[in-house]
Each structure stands twice: as C-alpha cells, then as structure tokens.
C-alpha cells in the first residue's frame, strides 16, 4: 500500500503550488485596476493566506496520521484501544475555527460597507451617473447628463468615480467588470447601485455572469477608461456624429438578439426607465421560441448585420495608452 501514500502525497504537493501561483499570476481577479477592485483583492488575498494555513495543517496532520497508523504485517494485527473524546482537545479545535471566523469577519464587514459607497479619496468629486439597462443579450448604457446612449461598450473618465444605476429590461443579469470591482445583479422593476473607479485610462473586460438564455455567452462589453479630456472629446463627437434613438429603434434593440456596438445622441430614459416598471410593453415571448439542431445561427447573423449599421465612432477614440489585457 506504499503506492497509495506516495501518490496521495504527490497530489497534495501538486495542488499547493497551483494555489500559490494563483496569487501572483495575472489572473484577472488578482489584477485590480481601481480602488474598489483593489479592496476586494486585498480581502481575497487575506483570506487565501488563512485558508492555505488551514489546508497545510489539515493535510500535514492527515498525511502524518494515515502514514504512522497504517496497518502493517508486522504489527501483530493488534487491536487499538478504545478512546473516549478529550474535552480539552475538542474545545481547542472548536475555538480555533471560531477565532478564524472572527478574524475573517472583521475585514469582510468593513469591505462590504466600504464598496457600497463612493471609494475613499473620491468623496469630494461628483460621480458621473450612468444608467445600465441589461437586455437579452446586450448592455445598454445611458448617460443622462451627457445625453448619450451606447450599446455594448462603455466609456468612462479615468480617475473619477462613476455611479451605475442598474436595471434590466427583462431577465436578471449581473454586471461585472472584474478589474474595476465586484458584480451586482440587474433586475427589471428594480434599481441596484454600484460605484466604480478606474485608476488609469485603459480597456477593461466586462460581462454578464447571470445566465439568461441562448445569447448569454456573448453578453460581454468593453469598458474604456479615457482621460477626462478624451472623455469630453468623445462626448462632443457623439453629439456631432451619432444618430438619434427612436422608441421604435429601441424596441428593436430590446428583441432577443446578439448585436454589436451602437451609439446615440439621446437616451431611452426619455420614454422609459425599466427600474420603474413598464418593461412588459417590450416583451414578446414568441421571439424566445426555440429550435433544436445546428441550423440555427440566428444570433450570429444578426451580429454581423447590426455591426454594419451601427456607428463606427468607437475606433476613432482609441485611447493612446490602452492597456492590452488578454481579455476581450
């Protein structure tokens, strides 16, 4: 039975460097690009250290005990003594997890409260308000103060707090830009709030994490953090070049499709805010009828078709120091 222990030891040894490597590599969650994401990453790394200690202690104890007390042919087939529990020991291993829970709970609560508000150091600045409306299977971003609406991409000023007021036109989704902060659900007839800040200009990966049907895998978007000047230029440019969104066009966008990017010089908030109800007006269950088999590539065709008629201004405002991330 020697092979058993050896192989098991190998398995254990194999996992630990993997876990350690996770903390140092450029896994997206460990690569924060803003204060909100950074406080989450700090909390995560803090917890991983505790967890690694626990794993190492339990694995070591386990390995030692299983090895030392294995049955051997020369042990005379002895019968071990019966053991009652030991109160002191049991109290010890009751107390240790209690202490660990307390140690984890304090920074957890602190961080939970912290990320609900404007990030520290930005309290004085007036946040840019962006309404997020998720639909099947696209993201619609409305800038009420700038009077701009974009689909499937989001431009924000860097080093400036952004307040997202989020809702959904139908199914439940989850808005997540891992490099900038944690996720939150978007729900019809509801409004959820999220604050994010990007330290520097750059391009960040965002997506929906809450499964909402056939086009779900394609429901991602790009967040471009621009310098304040570039952002202002972009706003001006949209006003100069983009089309106006009509309600007719809007209900077409809300149909369940995978589409490309779009830009408009007004917002749909003029006629509906899905946070306050009324979404059913745009819903049509018949569009969700399914068919089986590979002949169905409707979603993809739609994408290429839409991309051609959407505004191409996005390419013009490529930020100068765009950070290339593996994602996108």
């Amino acid at each position: 039975m020697k092979g058993f222990k050896k192989l098991f030891g190998w398995l254990v040894m194999l996992t630990i460097p993997f876990l350690l490597a996770g903390c140092e590599s450029n896994l997206i969650v460990f690569d924060p690009k803003g204060p909100v994401a950074r406080s989450l990453t700090d909390l995560i790394i803090f917890s991983i250290i505790f967890m690694l200690v626990i794993v190492i202690v339990v694995f070591a104890l386990f390995g030692y005990i299983v090895w030392k007390y294995r049955a051997r042919s020369d042990d005379g087939n002895f019968e071990p003594e019966e053991e009652k529990g030991n109160h002191l020991l049991e109290i010890i291993w009751f107390t240790i997890p209690v202490i660990i829970v307390i140690a984890l709970m304090i920074p957890t609560t602190k961080t939970i409260y912290e990320v609900e508000d404007v990030p520290q150091g930005y309290e004085e600045e007036e946040p840019l308000v962006i309404h997020v409306t998720s639909a099947d299977w696209k993201w619609i971003f409305s800038y009420p103060d700038q009077d701009i609406e974009t689909v499937n991409y989001l431009n924000i000023p860097a080093d400036h707090p952004v307040q997202f007021k989020m809702t959904s036109a139908g199914t439940m989704q989850s808005f997540w830009v891992p490099e900038l902060g944690g996720q939150k659900y978007t729900m019809a007839n509801m409004q959820t709030n999220l604050f994010l800040v990007a330290d520097r200009p750059g391009s960040y990966y965002g997506r929906n994490t809450s499964f909402n049907g056939k086009g779900y895998a394609h429901m991602d978007f790009e967040v471009q953090a621009l310098s304040q000047d570039d952002f202002n230029d972009w706003v001006q440019e949209v006003h100069d070049t983009a089309n106006t969104l009509t309600e007719e066009k809007y209900s077409e966008i809300l149909e369940p499709t995978v589409i490309g990017r779009m830009t408009f010089n007004n917002t749909h908030l003029e006629w509906i805010d899905h946070a306050h109800g009324g979404s059913e007006k745009y819903l049509n269950p018949e569009l969700y009828r399914i068919s089986h088999g590979h002949e169905d590539h409707e979603g993809h065709d739609e994408k290429s078709e839409e991309e051609t008629d959407s505004n191409e201004d996005q390419t013009k405002t490529e930020p100068s120091q765009s950070e290339d991330h593996a994602h996108h």
């Binding site: 019966e82 961080t111 994490t209 068919s291």
Partner: protein
C-alpha cells in the same frame, strides 16, 4: 401541436439517443419476456415493501442517473475543451447543464443516499422494516416517476433550459415559452412528494423503531445523521413544494408570482428556491458524513472519536443550514447589513464542520488503518473536502464573493464539496455495505482502479476551474474566444473528465465482475463491523433479525462479539409479523407520471381524466385490510441455521 414539435428533432445527438432509447426499451421488454421474468419482477420488486429491496432499487436508479448526468457533464467538458467549438449549440448546451445539475443533485445524489439509508438504517437500529413500509414504496415509485418524466424531456418536447436553479424571470413563460421548464416544475414536484414522505418515514422510524436499550446516545452515528437529515427534509421540502406550485401556476395558468409583468417578484423565487436549496445541500452531505464516520471507525478498528461532539456538530450544521440561504445572492443588491449577517452565519458552518474533520483525524490516530476500498474513499474525502470547505469560507465572505459569484470558481467549489462529500461517501457506502445487500463483496482490486482513476480525474477536472474562474470566466458559457487565455485550463479539465469517466466505468465493470465471479462466502461480518447490521446474515434476510437484538451501549455488536454473545437460542424465537406486498404504490406513481406528462403539455382534459386514477388508487388503498403475514418459528429457525449452523 405537430409531431415535429412533440419529438425533439434536428439534432443528430438527440436523434441517436432517441433511437438508442427505443431499441433499449424493446430489447429489455423482449429479454424479460424471453426469460419469463415478468411475474418475478412484479412480485419480488415492483410491489415489494421490503426496505432493503426498495433501497436497492433506489441505488440502481441512482447509478443509472449518474450515468445520464455524467454524460451531460462529459458533453459540456467536450464543448468547452477548445475555444469556439461547434460541437453543441447554445440551446443544447443550456439544456445539458440544466439537466446535469438537476439529475446529479435530485436524481443521483438523493436516491443513492436514500437507497443506502433504506438498506442500512432499519438494520442498524435493529428493526424489521421502516415505520411505514408501504409509504416507503410509494416514496420510491414517486421519485422514479419524477425521474423518468424529467428524463423523457430531452427526446419529447425539449429539456428545461434555465439552469438547475431555474431563476425567474428567465424560467417563466415570458422568456421560455416551450414545454421544457414545465417538465422541471412538474417532475420535481412529483419526485419531491416522494422525498418528503421518506423524510417523515425515517423520522418516525428512528423515534419509534429502535431496538430495546438503544437510547439516543447509543445510536450509530449514521442513524443520527439520517435522523437529522430527515428533519431537514421535513422542514425544507415543503418550501420547494410551494415554490414549484407557484412556478406551475405561473407557467400553466398565467399567474404572476414571479413574472416581470403585472407586479410579479422574481426575487421571491430566488429566496424560496434557496430556502430549500441550501438545506438540500446538507440533506445530501449529512448522511454522507455519517457513512464516512462508520467506515473510518471500522477500518481504523477504533470507536469514533468524540461521538457526542459529532452528534452536536451534525445538529449544529442542520440548524445553521436554514440560516444561510442569502449567500447564494449576495449580489442581488442587499443592504450591507444583510450581507454581513449572512456572511457570519455562513462562515459559522465551518466551525462544526472543522470539529468533524478533527474528530475523524483523531479517530484514525492510534488506530490500525486498513486501506480497503471503502476506507480509501473515506480517507480521500478528508483532503478533497477540505479544499471544498476552505473555498466555501472564501465564498462566504460577501465582499469577496462579488468577484467569485457565478464564476467557474463557484462551480469548482461546489463540485469539491459535493463530489468528495457525497459521491465519495456513496462509493464508500456501496463497497462497505455491498455484502450486506448482496452476500458478496465488490472486488477490491478493481475497486482500487475505480478509486484512483476517479480521484485523480476528479482533481484534474475541477482544480483548473478555480483558476479559470478567478480569471473571469463565468459559469454556463457554452463558448469562449481564444483570446481569453482559458483554453489551457479548460483543455486540461476536459482530459481530467475522461479519466473521471474511466473511474465510473471501472465501478460498472466491478459490479458486473463481482456479480459473476466474487466469492459468495463472506459471512455475516466481513469487515469486523461495530454496529447491528453485521449481526445478521449477508444478504440480510427479509425479516432482518430472527430475534430483535438488545442494546446496552454504543457499538453494540462490537461488544456482543467480544462477550461471545452473538448466538441464537431457538427458544428465543417468536413468530415474526411482516407487511404484505402492495400494488398501490407503483400504480399511484404511474398515474402521477401520466398526469404529470399531460400537465407538461398543458392537455388539461386528459390530465383531469387521468387523475381519476389517483383517486382510484387512494380509495383502493384505504380499503386494503391486509394486515400482513407471520413467519413461523420453524421457518425462522431453518433460515437462521443456513448461516449460523446449529442454533443453541
């Protein structure tokens, strides 16, 4: 509705399955007819009320469902093994991860555990059957009807495709208008009634049917964990019943409990689902803990360390399990206070769980550890489950969860909890109690193959998911682009899943091999066990114990053996009263299945007509005056002589 809509068409994979299912059915019917086994099947299995046979039928169903759910899993791994593969389309992938989840939790884990509970619990408490044997049969057949109804969905009408959690509003008619999610609502309801009845049955059995002298603190630990599990079933399943009823009303009759339109509240579904769903996790994990405890004590050849604290730990976990459901949606916009409180209650579960881990380690300490296959599963459970546990604590921290929620990190975590916690336990339990069920052991050598392939495959499949999750991959994505950099992790994971599947194949081969070739001479107590189930013959006779044993301490059988007190005097024998077989449970379940099928397709007239059968079954059952039968002393003595030799 045209035939084309009725049968799922257009997908070669599904077409192949349809043909395969058709051929298998015809083949099975032909085989049974050829072997003239119909009468035998009806008398010995379909109408049986014997807890051991019901347990075995649960286990067979569980293994079959394991295969089905496993194939779903393999298809998912194949589809994501390379970026932008076109092996499955989005719709097919969505259906498969939905059925994978539902089947693995409700139709694989549950029946395998309930099956082992059925076989073992009455034997461990020295009883002749459960408290309500006929209800027990009804439980099984309702579960089976629910499982079959659910499985038929992928060839007839289309499978549910909103995830095993079936979150509204997605799962409502507004966004999934087909019949797929009707299957979810109705099949789970039928199976759920069976599970609820099982819970009630075991609570009563354990309170009322214990052998004389078996006080609460002399209960084997598996009985304790089953008892507490049954209480959670009774507490939690009605919540699911109500949630599914609302879902059915929404989908079939146009109500607005969970819809977007007309003031429905999808968040209510999330709350109800997880108010049941989180306790459900403990419903499957707690009996597993009990099994590990039995196996570890037996093969360390020691009593369980800290028995009382183990009991309190199980009770504590059960209590906390009802107080943590919000951690499944920290990201739903709850206040910071709510998230903080639920972070705390969730992390507190780690305390009793930690106590259990240390008690197991100290049971092993100073023991004489024999590496039987059952023991290997129990040992591998400890480190693997520890990884699942610590990542669970990480997920419990609400703020950190904002970065893990709905990602592959979460998927990796719950597979690291449920596979070591439940599947390893079921394997340990199968190897351990197999001789008690069938009178022969599973082969140990093939068992080692099964073990190593499965454990290595499991770690290879699910470990990479932690990392790909931390790299921003959300769950349930049927495809991804090469530029994400996830291909390496997912390719490795896909290879792991093949090894995992090979492990499962080794189990199936082991069952086949052992049925044909294993030695039938295993005696009543092949593992040198400690509890009462080993005091009677293997396989256990239908009356379980010729004379109900008397218990004067924990690990009663262990001390009976030491004191040479295992014999049987013929003068102690009395006639044994046994329950008769009954046709009503299987009849009712078939009718439930038919009614359910009609409801799925919203054929209400047919459904109402068919439900007359339910009334017929219930009336027939009420006028059943069969009080069972008696086994005479002579018959008992004859059967006992067969394995004991002469009686004292």
């Amino acid at each position: 509705m045209s035939l084309d809509e009725f049968f799922v068409t257009g997908d070669p994979l599904i077409l192949a399955s349809q043909i395969a299912i058709g051929l298998t059915m015809i083949g099975l019917i032909a085989l049974i007819t050829y072997l003239k086994r119909w009468k035998w099947l009806w008398n010995e299995w379909f109408t049986t009320v014997d807890h051991k046979k019901i347990g075995i039928m649960y286990i067979i169903s569980g293994v079959l469902m394991f295969f089905r759910g496993g194939v779903d899993g393999l298809l998912m791994k194949a589809q994501t093994s390379r970026p932008e593969l076109e092996f499955l389309d989005a719709q097919h992938y969505d259906e498969i991860f939905t059925t994978h989840g539902v089947i693995m939790i409700l139709f694989m884990a549950m029946p395998l555990l309930i099956g082992l509970m059925n076989v073992v619990i009455p034997l461990q408490i020295g009883a002749r059957d459960v408290a309500f044997p006929k209800l027990n049969a009804l439980s099984f057949w309702l579960f089976f009807a629910g499982a079959m109804l659910f499985n038929v969905s992928f060839v007839i009408g289309g499978s549910p495709d909103a995830g095993w959690t079936s979150y509204f509003p997605l799962a409502g008619k507004e966004f999934t208008p087909g019949v797929g999610n009707n299957y979810y609502a109705i099949a789970l309801q039928i199976a759920g009634i069976g599970t609820l009845a099982t819970g009630i049955n075991f609570v009563v059995t354990i309170i009322k049917m214990r052998a004389p002298g078996m006080t609460w603190m002399r209960l084997p630990i598996f009985v304790w964990s089953t008892f507490i599990t049954s209480i959670i079933i009774v507490a939690a399943f009605p919540i699911f019943t109500v949630a599914l009823a609302y879902m059915t009303l929404d989908r079939l009759f146009g109500t607005h409990f969970f819809t977007v339109a007309n003031g429905g509240d999808p968040m209510l579904w999330l709350n109800l689902f997880w108010l049941w769903g989180h306790p459900e996790v403990y419903i499957v994990v707690l009996p597993a803990f009990g099994m590990f405890s039995e196996v570890i004590a037996t093969f360390a050849r020691k009593n369980l360390y800290g028995y009382k604290s183990m009991v309190y730990a199980v009770a504590g976990i059960a209590f906390l399990s009802m107080l943590v459901w919000v951690h499944h949606f920290y990201t739903m916009g709850n206040s910071a206070a709510v998230n903080s409180i639920f972070s705390l209650t969730t992390m507190m579960i780690a305390i009793p769980t930690g106590v259990k881990i240390f008690n197991w380690l100290f049971t092993l300490r100073k023991g004489r550890i024999e590496f039987s296959t059952a023991m290997l599963w129990s040992l591998a459970f400890i480190p693997c489950f520890t990884i699942g546990g610590v990542t669970g604590v990480m997920l419990a921290m609400a703020a950190a969860d904002y970065q893990y929620h709905n990602t592959m990190f979460l998927v990796a975590h719950f597979h690291y909890v449920l596979i070591p916690g439940v599947v390893f336990a079921v394997f340990a339990g199968l190897y351990y109690w197999w001789p008690k069920m069938f009178g022969f052991k599973l082969n140990e050598k093939i068992g080692k193959w099964h073990f190593w392939l499965f454990v290595i495959g499991f770690n290879m499949t699910f470990m990479p998911m932690f990392f790909v999750g931390l790299d921003g991959m959300s769950r349930r994505m049927y495809t991804y682009s090469a530029s994400t950099g996830w291909a390496g992790w997912l390719g490795f994971s896909a290879i792991g899943s093949i090894i995992l599947a090979a492990g499962f194949a080794a189990l199936c081969y082991n069952i086949y091999w052992s049925f044909r070739y294993a030695s039938r001479d295993v005696g009543n107590d092949p593992w040198n066990g400690r509890t009462l189930e080993w005091a009677t013959a293997s396989p256990a006779p239908h009356y379980n114990f010729a004379k109900v044993p008397e218990v004067d301490r924990l690990d009663a059988y262990w001390y009976m053996k030491k004191e040479g007190n295992t014999g049987l005097k013929k003068s102690d024998l009395k006639p044994v009263h046994m329950p008769s077989n009954s046709w009503t449970p299987i009849f009712l379940a078939v009718v439930f299945g038919v009614v359910g099928f009609f409801l799925v397709f919203e054929w209400f007239t047919l459904a109402i007509l068919a439900s007359i059968g339910i009334v017929v079954g219930l009336v027939a059952n009420s006028f059943d005056y069969d009080d069972g039968y008696h086994i005479s002393v002579e018959e008992l003595a004859d059967e006992e002589r067969e394995w004991r030799g002469d009686l004292q």
